[in-house]
Subunit: 221 residues, 2 copies
Amino acid sequence: MSNQPKRHIKDVIYDEYLGRIQRGELTHEDRLVDTTVASEFNVSRMPVRDAFMRLAHEGYLASSTRGFTLPELTHRQILEIFELRRLLEPRAAALAAYALTDENLASLEHAVDLSESTIASGDIALLFNASEMIRRTWLSAVPNIELRDTILRYMAQIQAVRMATLHDTASQRTLVSLHRQMLTVFSSRKGVDVELLILRFVLAGEESYLRAHSTRAETAP
Amino acid sequence: MSNQPKRHIKDVIYDEYLGRIQRGELTHEDRLVDTTVASEFNVSRMPVRDAFMRLAHEGYLASSTRGFTLPELTHRQILEIFELRRLLEPRAAALAAYALTDENLASLEHAVDLSESTIASGDIALLFNASEMIRRTWLSAVPNIELRDTILRYMAQIQAVRMATLHDTASQRTLVSLHRQMLTVFSSRKGVDVELLILRFVLAGEESYLRAHSTRAETAP
DNA sequence: ACAGCATAAACAGTATACGAATTTAAGGTC
DNA sequence: GACCTTAAATTCGTATACTGTTTATGCTGT
């Protein structure tokens, strides 16, 4: 018997494109048009429309008069989201610290090892993946579902931003170092320590972004 | 010339029902069916469907196999949202304190007067309205849009909960008193004081909820 | 009576079709 | 050759029709 709880097409398409967005497989040049995607999936426009409109309302896509595109985050919006992160993530991580399973800690350790390996290789994509793996791992252990979902909602939006900051060598070093420290404090399960470290983590991310942003602003045409 | 930026039917219906939900005009017995609403508006199912699905994804409605209904918030979810409120609202209010206009303060004062007048009249609906007016006023001044929208997203969901807690006389007194204090600290524009008071405000709301919840649990069948 | 099964009703999901709005392209004028 | 006008193409919003699934209803047999 098929154990599938009857997945609707619109949900399949929603998940598919949410994944593509979260994995950074879309560029700002991509214009997503419902009819085109519909013919790729051999379905009608409607489920595609449903999926894209949902993604747009959740902030993952921006709807324009000519198809859906990745949203253009302004400098201001990015700073605003960093403020949200400062407020939410330290507490969320502290809660997660008490709830992490041994499996969670194991995959955290694996991801941290991966992260450190990129110091030698300089593989930015791998560092980004490891970073995402670490984040997903501890986020999955956050017992407050509403809090976790709120964090997830804005994280996907600034994915591109985080990717961009990784081109700076200093930021890479800081990130890898913080990853290792995160493994330590999560393993200790001391909420207070986790809270402080995650706050430092977010602040470091903000500094990296500001550094990258000012550099880009200088060299911009 | 018509200055209307061409409002789509789906947006009209969305706004209409969001308003009804936020004003508490729907009960848990109401089942919203797209075909029914469509014939009321003399439109097809599609725009109604769009609006309801959007409301559902934002948490204002729950979609079942038999129409849309108000979502049943579990005790756990409500506590989770209170945790979010503790994390976000103090800071948001502090930011708002620096940005409040004189008009904002004037309408705040008006709403606080309204709130206090309900002590004599015992008009719970009016107290609720005044409370909402106060909230909307300071929220509208929060300069961090992302933060404000995040707060708005969950507030509508627990509207019914907040309404329910107002039937307790002690909670009413506490609320009115806190309203007056809020006017004072917002007028002083001291972010630190605002931050602390709003934290106390959220905590008081949580206590009121817990009191109402335990009472209800005792008298439940 | 009541459990189990068949049938009907209600509703959401999906398909197709049409119209309106807006951008892009083309052509014509000065 | 620049600018305005007009036509075409593109894409969204809405309407209508159909399909499948879930819930309710009623029937049958014990």
